[in-house]
């Protein structure tokens, strides 16, 4: 891809502070809603919300290497930065790794979403039909480019967030705050820290933030947008977790695949006003589609970067690849309903992608700069 083309694409896809903030919040909140089995991470009891709050500093600390690189080279995305520092060949290899990471997340998020739809709506619909429905939508959104995705998010994400807060208020009758006690009575500081680290490694959106940096209108906003999105999204997830814990109790909540869905099913006003979960599912679907479209777009950008071909040419093939992978995974085993390999693999991949590689890249960068200064 020529530099001119690249510049045009970046120029055409400029996004604003608010749009980036909302996109990152949505990515994280959806992860929280889809994986509220976060309740299963240590200490896996009524104190899990403390682990969630404690994960905020951990997320920020773990993101430091990526943020450092993005701040230093704010006109480039992560793959371009790595290529610049590590050299062409090694840069391409690491670039391929990151592309595979994005693809992996795309497939896992899509599989989780199929599981959500299977459980919440389309129990008998085959996987390929469910996956096709949202992948076609995502292809359309991703084809329209980042700017349109951000505009869509700007309109819909506030609605999603408001709806979550409304649900939290509507279920007030079912709260039993006693479920949150004793605070720190059954868990140690070590358990809570382990949980906070585990949770922080599940939020991989630091990589997405570094991919979005070159598209930011004001690049100085990067740190602000990242820190704020982390705090806002984690506070939202903590609120959701607390409502779930107080309503379902910690022991039952951690047995449920989608605790917030169960929570919304319990909202009712006598004698017949119920079924609030239908409204929740609508917003849940919208949020997940925005997230999947975002990952599809970023995957295509990273592949475009590696191959030098325009990214929109890869959107359809990547979606087809995702469809095949989802079909193979989902027709073999559940993704969320099984304490299986995906959880472990995701944590290892996150650890390598967020911490190991960026730290190596920074070390190389600092060495090179030192040699350059001496030379």
């Amino acid at each position: 891809m020529s530099n001119v083309n690249e510049r045009i694409i970046k120029e055409r896809n400029k996004i604003y502070y608010n749009q980036t903030l909302l996109l990152l919040i949505n990515f994280r909140v959806m992860l929280g809603l889809n994986n509220l089995p976060i309740l299963r991470v240590p200490p896996a009891n009524q104190d899990v919300w403390i682990a969630l709050l404690l994960s905020i500093p951990y997320i920020l600390i773990f993101s430091l290497p990526l943020l450092f690189l993005s701040n230093k080279f704010n006109n480039f995305n992560l793959i371009e930065i790595i290529e610049k520092i590590m050299g062409r060949i090694l840069g391409k290899i690491v670039g391929i790794y990151y592309f595979l990471v994005f693809l992996y997340y795309l497939v896992i998020f899509s599989s989780t979403f199929v599981e959500i739809l299977d459980n919440a709506l389309f129990r008998e619909t085959p996987t390929w039909a469910t996956a096709s429905l949202f992948l076609i939508t995502s292809i359309h959104i991703a084809h329209k480019g980042l700017r349109n995705l951000a505009r869509l998010g700007e309109v819909l994400i506030p609605l999603i967030l408001v709806s979550l807060f409304v649900f939290v208020i509507l279920g007030y009758d079912n709260y039993q705050f006693a479920n949150l006690f004793p605070i720190l009575g059954n868990s140690t500081f070590k358990d809570i820290n382990r949980g906070a680290i585990d949770i922080s490694l599940r939020f991989v959106d630091a990589i997405i933030a570094t991919m979005l940096t070159p598209y930011l209108v004001n690049k100085k906003d990067l740190n602000k947008v990242y820190i704020r999105s982390t705090i806002y999204s984690l506070l939202t997830i903590t609120l959701i977790t607390i409502t779930t814990l107080t309503t379902l109790g910690p022991e039952f909540a951690k047995r449920i695949n989608f605790p917030f869905l169960t929570y919304t099913r319990l909202i009712n006003f006598q004698p017949a006003i119920q079924g609030f979960e239908s409204v929740y599912i609508v917003f849940w679907i919208i949020g997940n589609i925005i997230r999947i479209a975002g990952y599809l777009y970023i995957s295509s950008v990273s592949l475009g970067q590696i191959t030098g071909i325009r990214n929109d040419r890869f959107i359809l093939p990547l979606a087809i690849l995702t469809l095949i992978a989802v079909q193979l995974i989902k027709d073999t085993r559940p993704v969320l309903g099984l304490r299986g390999p995906f959880n472990q693999i995701t944590l290892i991949i996150s650890f390598i992608s967020i911490l190991v590689i960026p730290i190596i890249v920074i070390i190389v960068y600092l060495f090179r700069r030192k040699f350059k200064e001496r030379g």
């Binding site: 008998e124 910690p250 039952f252 119920q274």
Partner: protein, 405 residues
């Protein structure tokens, strides 16, 4: 132009292919269940559904003489198998998403719930808000179908009886979700509502006893579980005390002896039993547990806000001093009743159904870890103290009783 035509053609195709969900179920292909009964028959599980009969609504339009509901049963080794067995006997697929009531036969409840009821929570169709009742001394299917109210559907009749708890706390309204949430807690034993068949004297139009008995249902009392096994029942008054301690009372009636020392016997005989009533507006209970040298002290502090329902006797509630005596008499009665229930449960059942163990766990988490296996034993021998404070904030439309000069 070409692109627009393609879009138009695609939209046209989509309109016809996206008319409904995959495997959509139409109303005329399902049987809507309102109540479900679970029983043990031999070694198998017998499930009974109360299905709304759509023909009934057409009764006035030539639908014939049909009842509002039909009962269908299925039997199997598990609940799921029993559900599917129904499909071999009933033409429509049972839709349980409108099921508001699950009645468990006493045999079923005595065998333990958790191992048998996994399907109810795994199946997304059943709402977690369905109420759970134990058919006291009976099979679930025996109580289903009895309807002595004005509701057309027997399921709704029972449902309304449960909902009447808001006016009479001599029963408990436990949803399956609440049952499961409490089941996992340490330091409390679960309770569930009860439904019981009782005889009703039949009277004719003139009010004369016809000499025959009819059946009616009552939801008075509560069923007590140890782990998930039904072990005992408590009476309506004990259930009322339980609701007071667990802060589950909204409205209710407290009837108590009118203070004797101020009954001036102006128009009534002193030998008469003078009872007054208070209608509660708000009840707030705070429970506490304390470790003492000699053991554990359980404490409750109840605050009642109410309105005078009726005053029988020569007490003048217009007089502040006598008004306070009335409040005190109300407090004493509640105090005695709750204390009696707690001591009875300690002595006869020996299970902490009030949740004092939860408070102990929250207050002394380290100590609770050491004694949690023996908590019921400790609870049974603990001292219980209760304070009750009544504030009567309304006197009704009259203040001075009508029999006071």
């Amino acid at each position: 132009m070409k692109r627009k035509l393609i879009c138009l053609a695609l939209s046209f195709v989509l309109i016809f292919s996206l008319t409904a969900c995959w495997n959509a179920r139409e109303l005329n292909t399902v049987g809507i269940s309102l109540a479900m009964g679970l029983d043990i028959e031999g070694d198998k599980i017998l499930v009974t559904f109360e299905i709304v009969n759509p023909s009934y609504t057409q009764k006035n339009h030539g639908g014939g003489d049909v009842g509002p509901v039909k009962y269908v049963q299925g039997i199997g080794n598990t609940i799921f198998e029993a559900f599917r067995d129904v499909s071999l006997k009933f033409d429509r697929r049972i839709l349980i998403s409108h099921n508001k009531l699950i009645i468990l036969g006493e045999d079923f409840a005595r065998r333990g719930l958790i191992n048998q009821t996994d399907q109810l929570f795994r199946n997304r169709e059943l709402r977690e808000t369905a109420y759970m009742l134990i058919a006291k001394g009976a099979k679930a299917y025996e109580v289903m179908g009895i309807n002595n109210g004005l509701e057309d559907l027997p399921g709704n009749y029972i449902l309304n009886l449960i909902r009447n708890k808001r006016d009479n706390p001599k029963t408990v309204d436990v949803r399956i979700m609440n049952y499961l949430r409490d089941y996992y807690l340490e330091g409390i034993h679960t309770v569930a509502g009860v439904v019981e068949m009782i005889d009703r004297t039949q009277i004719d139009e003139t009010g004369k006893d016809m000499g025959t008995k009819d059946k009616e249902l009552t939801v008075i009392g509560a069923a007590i579980f140890k782990d998930d096994i039904l072990v005992a029942y408590i009476s309506g008054n004990d259930t009322k005390a339980l609701n007071y301690i667990k802060n589950n009372v909204k409205k209710g009636l407290i009837t108590f002896p009118t203070p004797k020392d101020i009954v001036r016997n102006r128009k009534s005989n002193l030998e008469d039993k003078h009872l007054s009533s208070v209608l509660t507006i708000k009840v707030k209970t705070k429970n506490d547990v304390e470790i003492k040298d000699e053991g554990i002290n359980l404490k409750s502090k109840v605050k009642i806000r109410g309105t005078i329902g009726e005053v029988i006797g020569d007490i003048d509630v217009y007089n502040e001093e006598e008004f306070k005596l009335l409040e005190e008499a109300c407090s004493n009665t509640v105090k005695e009743a709750i204390k009696h229930t707690v001591e009875k449960v300690q002595r006869e059942i020996g299970l902490d159904i009030f949740g004092f163990g939860l408070i102990f766990q929250r207050k002394y988490p380290d100590e609770f870890k050491k004694i949690k296996d023996n908590w019921d034993e400790i609870f049974s021998h603990a001292d219980y103290q209760i304070e009750v404070e009544t504030n009567l904030i309304r006197t009704g439309l009259i203040d001075t009783p009508i029999n006071v000069d």
